[in-house]
Amino acid sequence: MTALASAPSAGATLDVAKIRADFPILSRTVRDDKPLVYLDSGATSQRPRQVLDAERTFLETSNAAVHRGAHALSEEATDAYESARERIAAFVGADVDEVVFTKNATEAINLVAYGMSNASVGDGVDAAAERFRLGPGDEVVTTEMEHHANLVPWQELCRRTGATLRWFSVTKDGRLDLENDPITERTKVVAFTHQSNVLGTVPPVEELVRRARAVGAYTVLDACQSVPHAPVDLHALGVDFAAFSGHKMLGPSGIGVLYGRRELLEALPPFLTGGSMIETVRMEGSTYAPPPARFEAGVPMTSQAIGLGAAVDYLNLIGMDAVKAHENELTGAALLKLQDLPGVSIIGPRSTEARGGAVAFEIEGIHPHDASQVLDDSGIAVRVGHHCAWPLHRAFGVQSSIRASFHVYNTLEEVDALVAGVRRAQEFFGVAP
């Protein structure tokens, strides 16, 4: 991989200028020649040249359908695809056969929910799947701070099986209310986020895993906002399942990952069925391949997997500790400076303690949509709305919010640009204090 030779070198302090040079999009201008200030990596991150090059090189030299055929290209493509799986697995502290490629995190979570659903219908699929059976009297626990992707699939699973959904509430300061614990002997699944995409809050994973295990419930971790921004070791965390998306970690869209403990993936019924996931097929019925193949029906996304492999290589070269430290600095600066502005209030924890780089806020007297229009006019891209966490916004009594989110390529100057943009919005709408 010659492209990697130009990747930034590991070190305590990041050379952000050098990193930014790897991201062609960051040098463009928007809205009448304003430099782009991209503060929406929580929605999707930008991709370095190394990722784009890896996809292009693959497509120009080795493209073929993986795990089919025996010609030279097919072998190369399969090797490249499986090599990406190995590096991605290592990146999150998993074994290679515990990593299933999906379209995105949403599909990964649905895969688990539908697998459980399939284990719950009629006689179930087979004896091994019995452990995932849910029915009336069983409960699924989630939290009020989830992205819809880690809430709606569980609502639907409950609806189909007759199980009941319960949840942890959120405290005023944006933490999970661990005192009022909905986990009981009836709980079969505990699904929770590793980092809120709105509040930035990082819940105590070890404690939640401990409580779930104590009652024999499976844990499902939404790692969408953690894996891209900090070192994550899924084996050490001890969760049963985890999901994340490539496009939030400098990789391509169209690729996500489901992690599952091997023993569980071996027992979980398939979600999508068809080619590539079978062992034998007869008109009367079929048997299925072992995981991860069992969960990868059809010709998979290939260049995207290879691109995600390259993204992981790129992040490894920088070092996830350095990524985390850098984003922590940006988050700390944004929290301080925004709180200093009269009329601005942060939604979520106000310090960087157990918190990542999503900073949601409100500006008194300005609807978030209107504020973001002024920010956009200054070249600043932020997210507005409920960020797919509507119940969370309801819990805070707000309809929507503005969210700035960071990645390794953002700078302190961009935090200052955000602060200046907020001031400009206050002046534009005549609410400047």
Partner: protein
């Protein structure tokens, strides 16, 4: 500056002092519309009198709304432009308005038809805001359809027993 073309003084005035706001009686239909991307909400009631179909008169359009300046102001302008007209006229105004905000700037607005609503032409340059500009207007259209459908049903029933 584009920003000023979107946030014209007329729009900010309607936003700060909305016309006809509040839910009133009587009404034949009430609808609740939400913009699922931002959570903005509007509740619209219509009161129709006189003739049938497009000949009925829009006696009142009352509303309650939570949302950005564009969606709030647009609903306020809808109240001004649609009340007192026949359903047919109101729908013509609505179509002209919808064509303008969805045109990405390609439709030259007719000030005779759209009056204050021409101020929303600047929104057409920002596709992400078009839904905001349409929220209250499309709720009105839906409310009229529901009001007339239930009236038709009611008269069919009384017609049947008469």
């Amino acid at each position: 500056m584009k920003l000023d073309s979107m946030y014209q003084e007329i729009i900010l005035d309607h936003y700060r002092n909305p016309h006809g706001r509040g839910l009133r009686d009587p009404f034949e239909a009430e609808v609740h519309h939400v913009n699922p991307t931002c959570g903005d909400e509007v509740t619209v009631r219509v009161h129709l009198t006189g003739g049938e179909g497009r000949d009925a008169k829009v006696e009142d359009l009352s509303y309650d709304a939570l949302g950005c300046s564009i969606s709030q102001a647009a609903t306020s302008v809808a109240h001004d432009l649609l009340v007192g007209h026949t359903v047919g006229e109101a729908f013509e105004t609505l179509e002209a308005y919808q064509a303008m905000v969805q045109s990405r700037g390609k439709v030259e607005p007719d000030e005779d038809v759209l009056d204050d609503a021409v101020a929303f032409a600047g929104v057409a340059a920002y596709p992400a805001r078009v839904k905001c500009a349409l929220l209250g207007w499309l709720a009105f259209k839906d409310a009229v359809a529901q009001a007339q459908a239930s009236q038709a049903q009611a008269s069919a029933q009384t017609g049947g027993t008469a």
